[in-house]
């Protein structure tokens, strides 16, 4: 397919959507599927057909809509009315009232059971009102299994623009101008990373999409891969063009079979349409993407370990320098970005860097996707401008703590992050502010805890995770995480003394500073941050000397 044919496809897809009176999306993200959304989808499709409405109303499976624990969700467009907990029985009410009579079913609206007055247009609900969707835009509104649906929302237009109206240098400059930083957690400036790889001269370079989302409590990448896989392919292809790579790998967790299936399907569709492969859109640029399935090792989120894993080896990290930008996959210059970072590339190119940088804070531009979970009323997937406060996220978007209990802490950054206590609820969620509190942005897991959570147990839980996930190569992480875990267990069991606590603290700083890679380097963070904000909980468990 050349670029003119692409334009024609896009126009055709847009035209088709204009002719439709309504579009109904049934959320087929992993969460909603497990609550039975596929049956709802099937029944709804049959009903529309039986009633002969298929030319007016299109029913499609879509990616994640956000409020996962209200699922299965059904969205009625263009009114943007979301129905919650839809099953094959109460679906009839939606059909009779919403579809036949055009009247919303009040008591099935999203949050109808918890809000005094639920909203017919979901975008007016506080859950969505404070959000700004860039990476997740279209996710939940389109069918991730149909490339035409992506065309209808302007899909692959950014790739066309990059290939035909921009030089690789200009693409990089646009990404730099956007000030976007790596969304995998470390927050390294993406544009700078691209420029570094671009500058290395090599006949072969690689692009890797890191979808080894291993933090317990995080499902941002999964939702994007499941809900809008073409966006990632487009972002990777633009990156390949910018840095001069002809091959990309998407490393996706083995625990995400649906994401793998949809991504592989998207690769096939893109290849069929000439959006991957040789001479993309008729240009001299060629690029292909392959999926690599993770095999259950958290450490493979670390760049050098991920590379070893793609090479078919144990996922043990290597000391940096040399950085992958210089010597990565099979020793070649390699660009590694996270799923969410790639998801933001097409919009940045389509609009421009400055447009993106206008959102967010001075040092953290753009938006961030968070996965809300734990003791929060409305858990699920959200995207907010950088700098939104924790209070806004937990109490306005998330609807506060379950059962009206008292907020105790929010855990960000998973096993590499830390806890933010109630006195810092007004912290702005950006890279620097979270780091200054002893936590990290991380990939976006945000777990809310109430007074029933024991912070020593939380620290022990994460240390156990790091101990199990340590690759075992370097001494501080291999032995240190085990020692720290045992000491935390001893404290939790009420058998430890002040000396144990002192040793634990000394070890934590040692492991943080001497470990070979980021896993060991951040493994003590949950411990150090709970010590910083909840030291009394540790001290109350310490045996007082006789």
């Amino acid at each position: 397919m050349n670029r003119h044919e692409l334009q024609a496809m896009v126009e055709k897809a847009k035209e088709k959507h204009k002719q439709l009176k309504h579009k109904i999306c049934v959320c087929c993200g992993a969460s909603c599927i497990s609550s039975g959304s596929e049956e709802v989808l099937k029944k709804l499709q049959n009903e529309i057909k039986t009633r002969g409405l298929e030319n007016e109303i299109e029913v499609v499976p879509s990616g994640c809509m956000g409020p996962c624990n209200q699922g299965p969700l059904v969205k009625h467009l263009p009114e943007n009315t979301i129905y919650q907990r839809v099953d094959c029985e109460n679906l009839d009410r939606i059909i009779e009232s919403q579809i036949v009579e055009g009247k919303p079913v009040e008591d099935m609206l999203l949050f109808a059971d918890s809000r005094e007055k639920p909203f017919v247009n979901a975008n007016e609900d506080p859950f969505f009102k404070k959000q700004l969707k860039i990476a997740l835009k279209d996710c939940g509104d389109i069918n991730p299994e149909e490339i035409e649906d992506y065309f209808a929302v302007g899909g692959y237009q950014a790739l066309d623009k990059a290939l035909y109206r921009m030089t690789p240098e200009e693409v990089i400059s646009e990404v730099k101008q956007s000030r976007i930083r790596g969304r995998g957690g470390a927050g390294y400036p993406t544009g700078l990373k691209w420029e570094t790889v671009y500058k290395y001269v090599s006949p072969q370079k690689y692009v890797i999409c890191n979808g080894d989302e291993g933090d317990p409590g995080a499902f941002m990448d999964r939702s994007v891969l499941e809900g809008n896989p073409h966006r990632i392919i487009e972002g990777m292809t633009i990156a390949g063009y910018a840095i001069g790579a002809s091959k990309g790998f998407a490393y996706i967790r083995g625990e995400y079979p649906l994401a793998i299936k949809r991504f592989e399907q998207a690769i096939k569709q893109a290849t069929k349409h000439g959006l991957l492969g040789k001479n993309i859109l008729g240009s001299p640029f060629s690029f292909e993407v392959e999926v690599r399935i993770g095999a259950g090792a958290f450490v493979c989120g670390e760049e050098t370990a991920l590379i070893a894993s793609i090479e078919g080896k144990r996922g043990t990290p290597k000391p940096r320098p040399p950085f992958p930008a210089e010597s990565g996959l099979w020793g070649k210059p390699t660009l590694i970005n996270n799923v969410e970072t790639f998801a933001a590339i097409a919009p940045i190119i389509q609009n421009d860097g400055e447009w993106y940088s206008e959102t967010g804070t001075a040092k953290s531009a753009g938006t961030k996707v968070f996965a809300l979970a734990g003791k929060i009323n409305y858990s699920g997937l959200i995207e907010v401008p950088m700098g939104t406060t924790l209070r806004e996220v937990v109490f306005e978007i998330g609807g506060g703590i379950q059962g009206g209990a008292e907020f105790k802490a929010a855990q960000t950054g998973g096993p590499s992050g830390g806890c933010i206590p109630a006195e810092h609820l007004d912290v702005k969620m950006d890279y620097e502010s979270l780091t200054s509190l002893g936590s990290i942005m991380g990939s976006g897991g945000l777990i809310v805890m109430d007074k029933s959570s024991d912070m020593v147990d939380v620290a022990r839980f994460f240390m156990e995770f790091c101990m199990d996930e340590s690759c075992g190569k370097c001494v501080p992480c291999r032995v240190g995480t085990k020692m720290m875990h045992d000491l935390l267990q001893k404290i939790y069991d009420g058998k430890a003394t002040q000396i144990d606590l002192d040793r634990l603290e000394e070890l934590a700083v040692y492991v943080k500073e001497t470990s070979l890679c980021g896993l060991g380097g951040s493994a003590p963070n949950p411990l150090l941050s709970t010590l910083r904000h909840f030291r009394q909980e540790y001290e109350s468990k310490i045996l007082k000397e006789a």
Binding site: N69, K375, M449
Partner: protein
């Protein structure tokens, strides 16, 4: 039912048969990957999907075909938690112990399973009918606590639901 640490099946102790469809599947995958050692993990995925776990004979077959030292194959297999050297049981119950599920009581579910079936995570019943595993987060945090029985995800699971679902599975054989 009593729990045992499951060792290799006797059925797999002998040589692999070239006509075994599962072996053919692995051979086809290796051919597709041009017998590249780089593809070891992809091939192991195929092998585990075919056999349910990775018997030593299968590892030996792969090592020989890819011209890889046995220890290189074994070291890779044992690094990744996805790969198992022993049978996981005809039916599997996987309890998510990610942070959200942990906060919402995954441990209580495990305790219940242990009291009901005398199975700890990683163990298989003596008759190989049921195996219990834990996952570090299946990404269904909005449905915590989550459990996967065979391939079905169950969300917001209670102790009663999990026991009934398991009994349904193992009772239907």
């Amino acid at each position: 039912m009593t729990a045992t640490h499951h060792t290799h099946h006797h059925a797999h102790a002998q040589e692999l048969s070239k006509t075994d469809p599962r072996v053919k599947l692995i051979a086809a995958k290796m051919k597709k990957e041009n017998h590249k050692p780089d593809a070891l993990i992809e091939i192991l995925h195929t092998a585990q999907n075919a056999f349910g776990f990775l018997p030593k004979e299968v590892l030996n077959f792969i090592a020989k075909e890819l011209h890889l030292p046995p220890s290189r194959v074994y070291s890779t297999v044992t690094f990744y938690h996805f790969f198992s050297l022993k049978s996981k049981g005809e039916h599997t119950c996987l309890v998510c112990t990610g942070t959200a599920c942990y906060v919402k009581g995954a441990q209580a579910l495990l305790n219940k399973i242990e009291s009901q079936f005398s199975l700890k995570p990683g163990q298989v019943t003596a008759d190989n009918k049921l195996g219990v595993q834990v996952a570090r987060c299946i990404g269904a945090c909005g449905l915590a606590p989550a459990v996967v029985i065979d391939n079905d995800v169950h969300g917001k699971v209670t102790e009663e639901v999990i026991i009934n679902s398991i009994n349904e599975k193992i009772g239907t054989i």
